[in-house]
Symmetry: C2
């Protein structure tokens, strides 16, 4: 089928299918995208290394081997992996309690963290555990990212003000205003204005100047490199380093060495939870970016292959002295827009960054740190996403609350606690929802064969027939509530002789639920009320057939509510005990 | 309505309604039940105090004030509260790490534990948090009780063998067989045989001798008191205490003093989780006993009033030097069978036990401990419930596993860890089940208006209309799976132009699910496939109406699958792109 092959180009199904089926037509796009991405990610990589508390070259190291490793295993044709703001922040937050920022030990821990999370991801991929990421709900992810973005923005304020650390309060900032270095702040503000302009208006202005819109957009995306170059030139020309402007400092020229080293058992153990969290978050972020890009091109993403790809990328980062990586949003979009057809674009970018490291590394020594701080600020501030809080809150209070608590948890208690709190809350909300089932008394819509809730529609009911639709699977958390709802309806309809439970929305009955149903029907049989079922789903029926309840206490199972109504309406059983009749 | 008043005698609705409406006719039953229960629970209370690692009189203290306190607040007319095997074991297991068994500190902790769990229960009752107990599923409760029973049986083996502690292995038992005190073992075996006979056959034999069956059953239930009396007589007559048979020892004569003392903050903090667990387990056990007894008499149990009653009982226990109490199964059944009509029976039992304490306490000093051990063994061994493991396993593997893991968790890791493990597993199982939704392609059963799964029934479908029934609420844990199932069906039916999602079993859509649906339909619209909904439930519709998805991307919402089929079958839209048609 030609349709089929057109729907899935060029990812195909196997590993490296894109390479085996490589077409010459794709080469121009891949080369361009590789070039554009390499230029774009140089400032980003250095900035995120700084954010992670690491020497800037570590960010560049993490932008070479990981891209090649991902190309071998990943399933996305557009995803660009490398250092990313959120994982950089997580690296800093998770390692800060374990070693002094800037020490050799800290660097070694960051490398092991990447290695370990790569191994975990790879193993999860082999075990096909991609589904685990589903337990991060959107409000948790969104709350986490907003909270992390706030932390990142706060962490960059000292760089922008030329202060040694974040003032502990607004008062401390005001009273210590003399300490603010106005030279650094001025440079920062200029860079900030330029980058904000580049993000919002530059593309349109370039378009007005006659450039095509796609080209204009790509050039606008590259604006950070201009700030970097300008920063270096200004610093060299006016010798600002001597004037107290902090700069990147000497970079070791050349490529990183491939080193395999193993942490001790104690270190390994304390790195395990951090590695798991970074893996989980990085994986979820990568997959959602990859999916949204793949959808546009009607390609498909395989979550388990993404685990392998992300795992290989992080192992590559760890082996070559880099830190944890994952798929980045803006770099992937640029990669895609610049024409990337296959992961070859990533390989090209990796080779170019390696060349730059070998040749131009010494030039970066005069790059002011404030420039990198501004690059981070501008990249990260849009991640503070109040719109999705508003949307979640409006859609469902519990979800808005989950988002908010996750974000505040990240800001106040830290990255780990925030995520764990968010996951626990979203599971609790789900259980809570399931524990308050909707049980409706239904009747026939006059003149039709439809049955609807008596509270929402004008419907006809039969005096001796009570039809209840249970709108939830019956499980331990809601058995009591369902039992109460049934008993309440029975006392609202005291003439009931036939109880019809409509199970169209019951997808599972657990043993706690079954025990309740069986005790309930026992009690009803004593009161001479018969129990019937309707619209039992196949899987539920399969399970009920193993029980005594169905055989001994259920009178009849009807294929539809209509048949049940027609059959049961015509029945007029004599009352077992006339004295009990009250109406 | 006379029916109403007959359905709820004599509990009524308010507190102490039974007392306000007390009828002379109930008095005989309450007095008899009080007498029978007091005789029955004397050995039990002492035995369970021993199990909890406490002096035996503490068990008797816990059988006076708690019964009166429960009568003030509780809603059950039959429940008999007091020391119970499972809470006694929990007291021992939870306090053992905090103080030496037998020390004054240990006793004080046990009293505080009762007081604190009483306060917690009472507060939960005021806050109407009775529903919290619903999160203990039946497999968890059943696994916990079986595991606890195994621990209890093991803990009594040394008493039976006259050994100082449980041998660490079967080999240690064999190699140390000389240490076994054959006199104690002999007494134990005689008591054991008598009690087992009393439990299984005595009632029938007494019935053959001419006693009525109810009376015979009550006498058989009282057999432990005979063993106690015989044990005391034998020990006094042959002066067995001097021969090395451990006995209860001197009991302080008289009633317990009412003492209020407050633990320090540190102690309070470390008692909090134990108190919470004892409260939860005791509450769940009491409520299930109360409910099963109430059902027989068509009375009803109010979970929140049970919280207050159980709370008051434990506060009473703590104030009068007793340990944690809850409703006991065998004593409640005896209470009920002996004719208890109201909680007055409990008050009578409390008064009688107080009288016995004042008058007969010195007699108990010669009671051999092995007799109490046998009372425990016989009472507890039926709680090891393999039948419910078999039933749970047959009904649902995940539930059988939950039960088994809870039981093993209790035995291997202890009471707290076992319960927490069980709750976590049953929540995980529930999420796991929800994360693997059943999605069925449905078609019309020929000649009818019913729609059924194409895989289970021979049904008619339309080539360009794909009708999918989603058999699960759509939430974060299953959005990926549902998306994949929809995409798979779409590639199985490549001519689909109209996608009908039947939401009869969807009781909730969370924001993660909504995002998926909205991205999915965006992709489908690009492929010129329209999305329709059918059988959307009221609460789901209310929520969807707040979203853009319904307005912008859903073509039509049909009230029933039938209307949707009839409407959509007749449509024949021109293909947007003929080239894409393959079949």
């Amino acid at each position: 089928m030609d349709l089929q092959s057109r729907l899935q180009p060029p990812g195909g199904t196997g590993y490296l299918a894109w390479l085996r089926n490589y077409r010459r037509a794709w080469l121009a796009g891949d080369l361009t995208a590789g070039l554009v991405v390499s230029v774009m990610i140089i400032p980003q990589s250095m900035a995120y290394a700084m954010l992670a508390g690491l020497p800037v070259q570590v960010g560049l190291y993490a932008s070479i081997l990981p891209l090649i490793a991902y190309a071998l295993f990943g399933s996305s044709m557009s995803l660009s992996v490398g250092p990313v703001a959120v994982t950089a922040l997580m690296t800093a937050a998770l390692l800060a309690p374990m070693a002094t920022v800037g020490s050799a030990e800290y660097l070694q821990l960051a490398i092991w963290l990447a290695l370990l999370s790569g191994l975990l991801l790879f193993i999860f991929g082999l075990l096909r555990l991609g589904f685990l990421a589903n337990f991060l709900s959107h409000p948790v992810i969104s709350g986490f990212i907003s909270g992390a973005a706030v932390l990142i923005v706060l962490s960059q304020v000292p760089h922008l003000l030329g202060l040694p650390e974040l003032p502990s309060s607004p008062e401390a900032l005001l009273s210590g205003w003399q300490a603010i270095n106005s030279l650094i702040l001025g440079m920062g503000l200029v860079a900030l204005v330029w980058l904000l302009y580049a993000r919002s208006l530059l593309a349109r202005h370039l378009n007005h100047l006659g450039l095509s819109m796609p080209l204009a957009r790509i050039l606008a995306r590259l604006s950070p490199i201009l700030v970097v170059v300008a920063g270096i030139l200004v610093t060299r020309f006016w010798e600002l380093q001597a004037a107290g402007v902090p700069v990147v400092g000497e970079l070791p020229a050349g490529l990183p060495a491939l080193v395999w080293s193993t942490p001790g058992v104690g270190t390994l153990y304390s790195l395990l939870l951090p590695a798991l969290l970074i893996s989980l978050v990085g994986f979820v972020e990568s997959v959602s970016i990859a999916q949204s890009l793949a959808r546009r091109k009607r390609q498909s993403i395989d979550a388990n292959r993404e685990l392998l790809g992300m795992g290989a990328a992080n192992i590559g980062a760890g082996l070559s002295g880099g830190f944890a990586v994952c798929g980045g949003f803006s770099r992937s979009v640029v990669n895609d827009e610049a024409g990337a057809q296959t992961p070859l674009a990533g390989v090209v970018a990796a080779v170019l960054i390696a060349l730059i490291l070998v040749t131009l590394a010494p030039l970066f020594s005069q790059l002011p740190l404030v420039v990198l701080a501004v690059v981070i600020l501008v990249a990260v501030s849009p991640l503070i996403d109040l719109a999705s809080l508003r949307r979640a809150w409006r859609y469902d209070r519990a979800e808005g609350l989950t988002l908010l608590v996750t974000a505040l948890g990240v800001i106040v208690f830290g990255v780990e606690a925030g995520i764990v709190l968010g996951i626990a809350l979203s599971i609790a909300a789900q259980l809570w929802r399931g524990s308050r089932p909707h049980v409706a008394v239904v009747g026939r819509v006059p003149g039709t064969d439809y049955f609807r809730n008596t509270k929402r529609h004008l419907v006809e009911t039969e005096p001796h027939l009570l039809a209840l639709r249970i709108d939830e699977s019956i499980f331990f958390a809601n058995t009591k509530a369902i039992e109460q709802a049934i008993q309440r309806s029975l006392s609202d309809y005291p003439d009931t002789r036939e109880l019809l439970l409509i199970l169209s929305a019951v997808n599972h009955i657990d043993s706690t639920g079954l025990d309740m149903l069986s005790e309930l029907s026992e009690g009803l049989l004593e009161r001479d009320i018969r129990v019937h079922l309707a619209e039992v789903k196949g899987p539920v029926m399969d399970q009920l057939e193993k029980t005594d309840w169905l055989e001994e206490q259920v009178d009849e199972v009807f294929p539809s509510t209509l048949i049940a109504f027609n059959t049961l309406s015509s029945i007029s059983r004599p009352m077992a005990n006339d004295e009990e009749v009250t109406a």
